[in-house]
């Protein structure tokens, strides 16, 4: 499994988000070190299909299914919706765990 973590330093959510990602990996017993990318220019945002900070991909797939069709790549903070519908600058640990679990299960089926 490959886990990518992309962030923009102008958005303060990345430290907490990375911590949350590590917690989610530990809770799912997945021993993978996320690959961390710092996105600093609009060009890098386009090249890396960066939808905003933080962006987490598991095997290249965004953890938030709501963003699968999104193509607005730029330097910005990213808006997530929590399970209770409230807006947040961070993905919930449940969202991260669900994405990890789904990819992990599909790998095991192969």
């Amino acid at each position: 499994m490959r886990v990518d973590f992309l962030y923009f330093p102008g958005c303060p959510s990345h430290e907490e988000a990375l911590e949350r990602l590590h917690d989610a990996l530990a809770q799912e017993h997945i021993r993978v070190e996320p690959v961390v990318y710092c996105i600093e220019t609009e060009e890098e945002a386009r090249q890396n299909r960066f939808l905003g900070s933080p962006t987490i991909r598991v095997n290249g797939v965004d953890i938030d299914p709501a963003f699968s069709e999104e193509t607005s790549f730029r330097l910005t903070c990213r808006l997530y919706l929590r399970e209770d519908g409230r807006p947040s600058p961070l993905p919930s640990i449940t969202m991260i765990r669900n994405a990890l679990k789904a990819r992990h299960e599909s790998e095991e089926r192969r």
Binding site: G10, C11, R74, T76, C77, L79, P87
Partner: protein, 175 residues
Amino acid sequence: MSIVIGHDAYDFSLPGVDGKEHSLADFANAQAFVLVFWCNHCPYVRAYEERTIALAKEFAGQVAFAAINANDAEKYPEDSFEAMKQRAAEMGYPFPYLRDETQSVARAYGAGRTPEFFLFDNERELRYHGRLDDNHEHPELAQHAFLRDAIISLLNGELPHIAQTPPVGCSIKWK
């Protein structure tokens, strides 16, 4: 670098989503004045939107609120004046929502984030600067309601116990 505690509020003349031009004089009757740098697209603003509206309603008649959006709307079209009008209408903002197209007001105040709150007393001297509270994600778990506490202190004729906290939010999108 933002203006320091005790600094006078800078005057401004900015168009609001209500179709009127607004300046400091519009808020002269209020005992205190909250100026917040704001925008449409930032998730931190979204997270604090309902709390800010609730605070403005709680202190209506005593404390005036105004929100200013200085973001570059060319790169961030969600922050265009038209989009601001829509957002204010959708959410029922109980305060003027102003467009700082030249970004000169944001620069004068030294604002760098959205949301970033500046609270002025009845002499329009800065008495609190920073964030609304200490939990952007879970309002019910916030331990310190910095802005609300500062407002109450001013209304009681006292200086806020905490005058400054680091604002937490998206960077203002400069041109």
